[in-house]
Amino acid sequence: MNVSPSRFDAIPLRLDFEDVEVGTELPPLVKGPLTTTHLMRWSAAIENWHKIHYDAQFAVEHDKLPGLLVNGTLKQQIIAQLLKDWAGREGWVWKVSFQFRGMNRVGETLSAWGRVTTKTAHPAFGLVELEVGLMNGEGKESTPGKATLALPFRGGPAVPYPFVPPVV
């Protein structure tokens, strides 16, 4: 099997609810520097031709932006990947929300981060709420948000799949 070397070799397939504490920080996921080529490749992959990601003249002169911008859709992917990898195969990313508060310009390196804020045990799994975001190389936050993950209990079965939200 020709699986590229990736961070998956280093990621546990399972994270138990008991292994997580309020305040636990996720190992950050770093992408970049993100070049115009990265942005063009992403735009092509999703067939979204918004010029502010590859047409510098349009971005600056027409839309009055400081330059080419990293796609919001790409930024949310980085946060979703951070969460999916951390939750493991037997957990589940239930919810994630973010605000695109700040622009990230081409050339920046972005680091997705997460920090556990609450833990709640439910009958079939535990729910973990997190603050998440995307920091650039200068430490500026652009994409603050929240997430809710379901994790299995130690010694218990995987989180049911497809995921069925708890009845509140």
Binding site: M1, V3, N48, K51, D63, Q77, Q81, W94, S97, Y161
Partner: protein
Amino acid sequence: MDESVRNYIGIETEEVLACDPVEAGAVRRFAQAYGDIDPIYRDSDARFGGPVAPLIYPSQMFRRDFYDADPIDERASDPDFDGLGQNATQGLPAIEPLAHLSSLNGGNELEFFRFARHGERVTLKSRYADIYERETSKGKMIFVITESEYRGEGGDLIVRATRTQIRR
């Protein structure tokens, strides 16, 4: 804000089918474009019932169908064309009174129930949930809130997305 804009609140689409099923090649380009080389996107995984697409992928599947008009051709001479076609509005009618304003992705709330499987057809139903104007530090901006539900062939919910587009 032109009051006629409020008439768009509550407008919803019919349930539409994505132009293509979840395709292995499209999934590969998508995952490679943001650097998520996870074996579950290529190899069969018992827990997920076969190879799957990234969590957010279903929300990016609604693209220009084979016989659809080509906005890039149609607006090739329009200096205000920002490159966006119908995929920017999730199948909803464009908000004509806002046509002259630029568009920025303000944020997203995503709720995931399962992965979409390779070969699967996905449907979308969207509605304009809210449209309002707010004074911000950068002047008046119009917030367009769109809710979208992505379902599998059996009608089960895969992803629910609530998007905020900022028009200014």
